[in-house]
Symmetry: C2
Subunit: 113 residues, 2 copies
DNA sequence: CCCATATATTCCTTTACAGGTATATACTGA
DNA sequence: TCAGTATATACCTGTAAAGGAATATATGGG
């Protein structure tokens, strides 16, 4: 499953949000979610395969932790769109400049009194 | 459909990527994608409902354009995770400081020979 | 070795969705 | 008004995935 598809499932995003607080075990997650243990385990498997979490084995417990790398990829995927909206802000800025009541005489930018 | 679910579909992400270049019509998209016209229209409907695109009607053409707002929400969703990985970088920095070969006497950072 | 605990896997059912074909709707120009 | 173009919708089919119950696997304690 792709990164996006893994994140499409609300329960999986919830798991990631819980993991922000730190490493936890499967049962801890089960206690905090309205899902059966097998369901949680299956979601964790998906997250593992998407590399969104790592698993550390400690006796009969499995400690799960966030892995940020794929989220950084998501961050990068957003980059071209971010350019879009910053360009829009620029345009807005220009527009405001053009329509502003201040004399546009000299200063181009950042000329706050 | 949620924002994430809308983005989970590769063809829809492709459409968004095409729209970065600017407003286009449905047929233009169809020409650039390996999908039938009805399929593209259905994806556009999903994207519209997720508010990821806007539609401008011009005679028999419908011009579709990106709407950044939901992507900015995605950006915000990432925020807490970003804190995670920046914290990690901090930790790495500290670790490097502690294990560095330079006398830890005075200079704290940026003391490259 | 036996039982309890922690987690994973299998199996089954239901649902959602993507894709196509066919068709409807709306606009345009002659 | 009619033919043609642009887009949307309806309908059908195949597939994937989510959820639970039951079961398997592995570990720890006595």
């Amino acid at each position: 499953m792709t990164l996006f598809a893994s994140l499409a499932e609300p329960s999986r995003r919830e798991i990631l949000n819980i993991l922000i607080e730190g490493e936890t075990t499967v049962n801890t997650l089960v206690d905090r979610m309205p899902l059966s243990q097998p369901s949680v385990s299956k979601h964790l498997k998906v997250l593992r395969e998407a590399n969104l979490v790592t698993q550390r084995i400690d006796g009969q417990r499995r400690w799960y932790a966030l892995n940020n790398q794929p989220l950084q990829e998501l961050d990068q995927w957003l980059a071209p769109f971010r350019q879009q909206w910053s360009r829009r802000l620029d345009a807005l800025g220009q527009h405001l400049d053009q329509t502003s009541m201040t004399k546009p005489s000299q200063g181009q930018k950042g000329e706050t009194p």
